[in-house]
């Protein structure tokens, strides 16, 4: 199988993280995300980021698997920082209530220590949340993911739709690859030689066949599901759901502690969502 086709797809490796139940991982993921999203304390955020890297190590995720994703995330985060600086260069000053210019630039675009701290904090927030997302996606079997969504109260039809999407992602990627090659053989130009507009137009020439061949797939799978009683009752059980084990409780306790610590630091020490070294 092509290595490219494995991007974003659940991998059958065995690690302590893979062995956690899907429900545990979902709850931990949510707790950690909320914790990091709530707090603007760069010290805590850096700690969580180290924790994320550590977990990624344990779950045997290889850098090559996530390289492309990391590049995209970096581009996104950096653009985000630059654009928010361009639109409101004094955001940091407003938040921290002081102004310490480091670099005088023309117009209102002075670079202040406050802005630098604010932007860096935000950057690391993304950099610590996204690894958890990646870990979650790569270590959770899509069916188990569906069953855990269902267990936290989301209707099983929605959960199953999510799982099927994840599950067919590699297939559709493979289709895309095949169609694009066949179209290139006919002379379709997808490289930078074509203008931006033409590249979009040419992209359509791959998307249309992709949609039609995916529709065939959907018809078959939905017939197969109907014939075996999908959606006949309001609830369903899950073959892949796992019993909570000791490690699951441990993971939940760790995540909950991090959440409480982050919230506690904000409320009792910083007395605000922001850590302010400027006062």
């Amino acid at each position: 199988m092509n290595v490219k086709a494995k991007l974003f797809s659940y991998d059958l490796v065995d690690s302590p993280i893979h062995q956690l139940s899907g429900l545990t991982k979902l709850i931990c993921f949510l707790l950690l995300t909320f914790a990091v999203m709530y707090s603007y304390d760069i010290r805590m955020i850096l700690l969580v980021m180290l924790f994320a890297v550590f977990i990624m190590r344990i779950s045997k995720i290889k850098f090559s698997q996530i390289k492309l994703m990391v590049v995209y995330v970096l581009i996104f985060v950096l653009t985000n920082a630059i654009i928010s600086f361009l639109f409101s260069p004094e955001m940091g000053v407003e938040i921290y209530g002081s102004r310490t210019p480091i670099l005088n630039l023309p117009g209102k675009f002075d670079l202040t220590a406050e802005q630098l701290l604010y932007s860096t904090t935000k950057l690391f927030k993304y950099a610590s949340v996204i690894p958890f997302g990646i870990i979650f996606l790569l270590t959770t079997n899509p069916s188990e993911f569906a069953s855990s969504l269902n267990r936290i109260g989301i209707h099983y039809k929605v959960s199953y739709a999510v799982a099927l999407t994840l599950r067919y992602f590699p297939d559709i990627q493979r289709d895309y690859h095949e169609i694009s090659q066949a179209q290139q053989a006919r002379g379709l130009e997808l490289s930078r030689k074509a203008s931006f507009f033409n590249r979009i137009k040419n992209g359509l020439l791959i998307i249309i066949p992709l949609i039609f061949s995916s529709l065939d797939r959907i018809e078959t799978i939905s017939n197969a599901m109907d014939l075996r009683g999908f959606s006949k009752s309001n609830t369903r059980t899950w073959y892949t759901s796992r019993k909570m084990k000791r490690n699951d409780y441990a993971a939940l306790i760790i995540s909950a502690s991090i959440f409480i610590a982050m919230a506690g630091v904000s409320i009792f020490i910083n007395k605000s969502r922001f850590y302010n070294p400027f006062v």
Partner: protein, 569 residues
């Protein structure tokens, strides 16, 4: 049998809302418990519609108007929904890949139990029990990618058996299987039939393959009507098969060629029951009378693959030291089971991937530095599913696409497209939207859109997959026409009939190595090659054995030569 019928159609008609004519007309059919029934018919005959009426997909997923009655266990299906019916009728659809709902064999088997809210512990117990029934208990955690075609079939079967249904309906179970897996599938069905005492209905157009094992009755459907309802022996003796365009077993064709009258006393329904020994003389006389074709003059090489090796990840060699030489104007099959490296080979030839070692020559010119686009003017590739290639609404635009990409002036495009469409017999449809075409016609459109670029070599991936005999013949005869125009044709396939009838030469790959490059008749009679390429011996070979003809391969080759003469190729 005077048992109460388990399925009973009474003057049953059905018309899809989207169609102007009924698909099924006045069907009367009753099936007794414990019967094994085969329903055959060409594409569009209504045989799948009949199946969908039994399992409830009609009217649940496909709406339409029903007249007359369909009773299952004496109860009208009109009052039942698809979920109630699924407790009685278990359906195994074609394409065990596409219907694999779960992410592992165990999960797939459990699917209908999950929907029934069976508690976790009991579910695992039940899944284990059913898996044992079909011999899958050691594979419960395997993902579909790790399972063989036969194992996927077993999984699908277990997924419906888990409901303890008493009727099993197989909708074209052989459609996407290679010959060896297809044979296994028929054996699995037989096994469940004899051990579990179920009523079995198989819908299929590949008659000979299903008759690998015994069936009680064969129902022939054509144009929405039942035109024959009898056992295998008498069906093969009648002219129903030829009239409806269903391929009769190959050994029966051979017997007819030899001038032997097919009667019920030679039990011709199955190769295993056939009494052929008394016809030995007629067969040998016929074989001796067949003219050997004159040796063709050696043509120059058009595509040469030399010591080519390739690996996607640098560890596992997908292709290992492949060598062959295709001559101008040849028509060659490339065969091998899934994962043998067939598609990778075609990707290397087209330049989608680059080989790690070795050279590919087009007429003594190394292709290494040619781009995909440049190679496309020499080598055209047609994907298996036409929906994967078609991106325009109108036939003309679709065929013109490749030329427009090349910025060829519009006044030159029109005549070239018209010519390609004419070759492909699509001229009457030139203004039509593609969505109005049949599958076979769409296939032609994709071939036309490649031919318009003027390639000298055409590579087709499974050109006849899922097609019935009539469409199969149409597509293949069309390819023969193109071949006669001088285009070299490479076919990636596991259709044994195609090999026998259309390609004198076959290249066999197994686990990345080339294990045979010889005549189709030698491939299909060589036990070792058959085994490693997931093929099966042709029934012509069995016929030769039954008639004590020692040179089996010679007999098969004789048949090929005779047919080629007959069809004037």
């Amino acid at each position: 049998m005077d048992l109460k019928p388990v399925i009973e159609f009474k003057n049953f008609s059905f018309q899809y809302h989207s169609q102007s004519e009924p698909t099924l007309h006045n069907i009367d059919l009753s099936i007794s418990p414990g019967e094994k029934i085969l329903i055959v018919g060409p594409s569009g005959s209504g045989k799948s519609t009949l199946g969908n009426c039994i399992n409830g997909l009609i009217p649940f997923a496909y709406e339409g108007e029903i007249k007359g009655d369909l009773l299952i266990h004496g109860e009208s299906t009109q009052d039942k929904n698809i979920f109630e019916l699924s407790k009685w009728v278990g359906t195994v659809l074609q394409d065990s890949d596409a219907q694999f709902v779960g992410l592992s064999a165990g999960e797939d088997i459990a699917f209908s139990l999950e929907n029934d809210n069976v508690p976790h512990a009991r579910m695992h117990k039940q899944v284990w029990k059913v898996a044992e029934m079909v011999g899958m208990q050691n594979w419960l955690t395997s993902s579909p990618f790790e399972l063989s075609g036969g194992q996927k079939q077993r999984t699908s079967l277990a997924g419906v058996l888990v409901n303890d249904v008493d009727i099993l309906l197989f909708d074209e179970p052989l459609a996407n299987l290679d010959p060896a897996t297809g044979k296994t599938a028929i054996e699995i069905i037989e096994d469940i039939y004899t051990r579990e005492n179920k009523t079995i209905i198989i819908i299929e157009h590949r008659l000979e393959d299903v008759l690998h094992r015994f069936v009680d009755r064969i129902i022939v459907i054509n144009d929405g009507r039942i035109i024959s309802n009898t056992d295998a022996h008498s069906l093969v003796c009648s002219d129903v098969l030829t009239k409806t365009g269903i391929r009769e077993p190959l050994y029966v064709t051979a017997l007819k060629y030899a001038g032997i009258k097919i009667t019920e006393d030679i039990e011709p329904g199955y190769i295993t029951t056939l009494q052929a020994h008394q016809h030995r003389n007629a067969l040998t006389t016929w074989q001796a009378s067949i003219e050997k074709p004159k040796a063709q003059k050696e043509k120059p090489s058009v595509l040469k693959v030399e010591q080519v090796s390739f690996s996607y990840d640098g560890i596992v060699k997908v292709l290992d030291d492949i060598n062959f030489d295709i001559k101008e104007g040849e028509m060659v099959s490339i065969i091998g089971k899934n994962g043998a490296g067939k598609s990778t080979l075609s990707k290397l030839i087209c330049g989608f991937e680059k080989q790690d070692q070795g050279t590919i020559f087009y007429r003594s010119q190394d292709l290494h530095d040619k781009s995909i686009k440049e190679r496309a003017e020499i080598i055209g590739v047609v994907l298996q599913n036409p929906n994967q290639m078609i991106s325009k609404n109108l036939i003309f635009d679709e065929v013109a696409l490749g030329l427009r990409f090349r910025n060829i002036p519009e006044e030159e495009i029109t005549p070239r497209v018209e010519k390609a469409l004419e070759i492909c017999g699509l001229n009457p449809f030139i203004e039509w939207p593609i969505s109005a075409l049949s599958f076979g016609q769409k296939k032609r459109v994709t071939i036309a859109s490649i031919l318009v670029l003027g390639p000298e070599i055409l590579i087709l991936d499974e050109p006849t997959a899922g097609q019935d005999y009539r469409h199969y013949t149409e597509i293949m005869e069309f390819l023969v026409e193109i071949n006669k125009l001088g285009v070299t044709v490479l076919l990636i396939t596991h259709d044994m009939h195609l090999m026998l009838e259309y390609t004198p030469r076959a290249i066999v790959l197994s686990e990345g190595r080339l294990i045979a490059d010889t005549s189709a008749s030698s491939v299909l009679t060589d036990h070792q090659v058959i085994e490693s390429a997931n093929l099966k011996e042709t029934s012509l070979f069995h016929l030769a054995q039954l008639a004590n003809i020692s040179d089996g391969a010679g007999f098969v080759q004789g048949f090929i030569d005779y047919e080629r003469k007959l069809k004037n190729r």
